[in-house]
Assembly symmetry: C2
């Protein structure tokens, strides 16, 4: 509607072309920052506009002015680029470990992914956004590794299940053993799993084990 969402891109993307800097840009950014914080910590329903506004140091009505409504604010707050590396340039046997490392760093760089996961679990809009990111950002990578489209879909879903599962245990549920693991420990355990899911042979059907 007001096309203001473009303003938030400057945080990550630093686009130099003639961007008419408005005085409100800082406020907009502060709102987004606070929104990500609250969504990540509390999920969609418990993250209130009032609290987000207070954390950003402005009035709740400003949030409405800049983002229309709560749903619009959420959409702007979780716009996210996974920045998936191009697997073309990576030795195939290192794809698994590399991906785990990449996700760990993406996950801990800010609160966006935690917000997305937390909201995706209870909010239809959040779930749809997760599916969208999976479809547009993770699946293409599997397509590049496997010629068969359906198999690539399965493989990428398997990889997603392991990566999201670890993120869930570590950043959302905060299961103590998962929280305590180091990055390298996680890479060593999960890397081979992701590797097998994306590039390993499809598992054979069960070799008849009725007895």
């Amino acid at each position: 509607m007001d096309g203001a969402e473009a303003a938030q891109g400057e945080e990550q993307r630093g686009d130099p072309p003639e961007a008419p800097r408005r005085r409100s840009d800082e406020t907009r950014a502060a709102i987004l920052r606070a929104a990500r914080d609250r969504f990540a910590a509390d999920g969609y329903e418990r993250a209130t506009i009032r609290l987000i506004a207070r954390e950003a140091g402005i009035d709740p009505s400003m949030v409405m002015r800049y983002y229309g409504n709560k749903s619009g604010l959420f959409a702007a707050a979780v716009e996210f680029d996974l920045k998936m590396p191009d697997v073309y340039y990576i030795p195939r046997r290192h794809v698994g470990a590399m991906l785990v490392r990449h996700f760990l760093s993406r996950w801990e760089q800010d609160e966006t992914l935690t917000a997305l996961l937390r909201v995706g679990a209870t909010n239809p809009e959040g779930a749809e956004e997760m599916r969208r990111i999976f479809r547009t950002q993770l699946r293409p990578l599997a397509d590049e590794l496997s010629p068969d489209a359906e198999e690539a879909a399965t493989r990428s879903a398997l990889a997603a299940s392991q990566i999201l599962g670890m993120a869930l245990c570590r950043y959302v549920l905060q299961l103590p053993p998962a929280v305590d693991m180091s990055h390298e420990e996680i890479v060593r355990w999960l890397g081979p799993t992701i590797q097998r899911y994306l590039t390993g042979d499809a598992p054979p059907p069960p070799p008849d084990e009725a007895g």
Copy 2:
């Protein structure tokens, strides 16, 4: 399917001559059933007492009478026994596949686990309940497979991450490829992963690949 266990789980082993069957037992069970439905579909905050009551066909105040408050209702609704099989009686090499199969069936038998996972993602109480179930019902199994307690903790967390991750993708986020997979397909892919996490060799530290 048996609504009998839903009633308090207090008086149902064997048959005590005096069955203090109350006329309200059916109502209590209906409330729990509706509560699990709503918690599983909407999470904690969006599942309202009023809606649960309407689905159970009674007045909201009945819910309060029988379960005290919303939090008490939740606790009663997600009381859950994973019914983990004793790994002692299972060929060690089949532990992974067996566990995946077991979880799939536990997950699809009713809505309790989905409710738990969905709520655990946004509600502190729900997260604590998930940690409790992990600690008391899943971890002991790993303890039985590994002599070292700390290693068992790590291993069981890894297994949990993969199982919960698949459940998240399949039952909560409903990622299409994960939803479309058959049980056997899931077992064939995830079984070896769980097997390795629980019984495989610990992965070696990286063989020096600084370059």
